[in-house]
Each structure stands twice: as structure tokens, then as C-alpha cells.
């Protein structure tokens, strides 16, 4: 069965969507990611959508679902690389991806996750 690969790097899971996903593939990715977060105890999820030529309401909903499920499993999701034409279309479609953190590229997204991880470790050590 066709699948989108999920890579693990430290406490972070990385996904780069490189194909035009049909709905079932998007649902599989959502399920796989949720399972992998629980298995690996990852605290960050980075999803690169720079290769996606469109994000319609189904893919938008998938991104929102992943972010919500990850949050419940104590992981932060950042979506990176959205093309400007996709962003314009998405807002006009009526989707603003509430609850989904975004960054311009993989590097900035990684920075966002690393600083979130660093601050949670800092908090863990402080005697409260």
C-alpha cells in the first residue's frame, strides 16, 4: 500500500509530502503519524508541504487533525513551506488552519520546534 514516509530525528518526526495525495493517502498519513508519535514519544512534528500545488478542504482538515491529535499526545506540529498561491487560495476557500503552527521553510520550522523543546526542558528542571 502507498504510504508517505515518516522520519525520526531526535525527538522530532519529519514528513515531506511529495505527491499529489488522494484522500485515502491523506487519512493513512494522519493515522500513521498519530501512531508514530505515541510509539516514539516524539515531542515535535514537522510537515513539509512545499511540493503541494494545492491544499483543499480535505487536506486542510487533515493538517488540522494531525495538529490536534499531536497536541493531545504532547507533541507540537509545525507545517512548513506553503506556497504563496496555496495560502491565498486557502484563505479564500474559508480555511485559516486554526491551531496549526506554520513556518516559511524547514529551517525556521525546526527552530520553532527546537525552542519549544528547549523551553519545556527548562521548565522541567525548575523547582516549582
Amino acid at each position: 500500500m502507498e504510504r508517505i514516509p515518516i522520519l525520526k530525528m531526535g525527538e522530532c518526526l519529519l514528513v515531506s509530502i511529495q505527491v499529489d495525495m488522494h484522500d485515502r493517502l491523506a487519512m493513512t498519513l494522519q493515522d500513521d503519524l498519530t501512531t508514530r508519535i505515541a510509539e516514539t514519544r516524539a515531542h515535535g512534528v514537522l510537515i513539509d508541504i512545499s511540493a503541494l500545488e494545492i491544499v483543499d478542504s480535505f487536506i486542510g482538515r487533515m493538517l488540522g487533525n494531525i495538529a490536534s491529535m499531536a497536541r493531545v499526545l504532547d507533541a507540537q506540529t509545525v507545517v512548513v513551506g506553503m506556497r504563496p498561491a496555496v495560502a491565498i487560495t486557502l484563505v479564500e476557500l474559508g480555511l485559516s488552519l486554526p491551531g496549526v503552527s506554520t513556518a516559511l521553510d524547514v529551517e525556521k520550522g525546526m527552530d520553532l520546534i527546537q525552542s519549544a523543546l528547549a523551553s519545556r526542558k527548562g521548565n522541567g528542571r525548575s523547582p516549582t
Partner: protein, 134 residues
């Protein structure tokens, strides 16, 4: 207004939604749409093709490259013989869904095009025609 070229495709299953996106992209490029306009019509087509598969039990898409005196456009006509829509105004409202989605498909597609026509009768099927001009 003249139809320069047309083509009709079957839209039956989830995989066909992906091929509709690719086909509409090719046509939008051929008409000379900007990248943003291409993205808008492809996204609208994706929503309408999915609706057709989920609610209409599949159907057809007819693409038409249009030309009137001073502008070019692309028209997409989605037609199915599914159960039809009883209350079109309700179906167009954001957040209304019977398919388990976000309820943005029909209303969202309408916002992404210049012209939007919907014709549906319960039991007879649904026809949605959208046009975007360059």
C-alpha cells in the same frame, strides 16, 4: 462567447479526484492563467470532484476553454445522477456538511471562481458549472 475546445472525463472514485486536479491544471496553464488563478480553479475542481464522488455517486466533468471578445476563460461542468440536493441554500452555507467534512466544499468552490451555477433536483442529480476568467 465561443467554446474553443472541450473534453469530458468520468469521475468515479477517490483517485479520479487527483486526475481531475492534474487535468484542470493542464487546461488552466493552456488558457494562460496566472499561478494564483490556476491554484484557485484547481482547488475548486478538487472540492467539486470530491462532492461528486461522495454525494453524487460519481459523474462526469466537462472542461471548456472559452473565448469571448476580449477575454479567455475556463468552464468546468460537473454533472451526476445522484440523489440531488434538497436545499441548495443550506448546502452552500459554510460549515454545513452531510459527508463528514468541513462543509466548505460547495461554498468554498463558489468563492474561488467568477461564475457559479448550480442546478439540482432530489432524485434527478446535480449539475454544477463554474467559470473563471483570465
Amino acid at each position: 462567447m465561443a467554446v474553443l475546445r472541450h473534453e469530458t472525463r468520468q469521475v468515479r472514485a477517490g483517485e479520479d479526484v487527483v486526475s481531475v486536479r492534474q487535468l484542470v491544471r493542464e487546461w488552466a496553464v493552456a488558457v494562460g492563467f496566472s499561478l494564483v488563478d490556476q491554484t484557485k480553479i484547481v482547488t475548486a475542481a478538487s472540492e467539486l470532484a470530491r462532492n461528486q464522488v461522495i454525494h453524487g455517486g460519481g459523474g462526469t466533468l466537462r472542461l471548456e476553454a472559452l473565448n469571448d471578445e476580449h477575454r479567455r476563460g475556463l468552464r468546468l461542468i460537473f454533472e451526476d445522477h445522484g440523489p440531488g440536493i434538497a436545499d441548495i441554500a443550506q448546502a452552500l452555507r459554510d460549515g454545513y456538511s452531510t459527508g463528514g467534512g468541513l462543509g466548505l466544499g460547495l461554498g468554498g468552490a463558489k468563492r474561488l471562481v467568477n461564475e457559479f451555477e448550480i442546478d439540482s433536483r432530489p432524485g434527478a442529480g446535480t449539475r454544477v458549472a463554474v467559470t473563471r476568467w483570465k
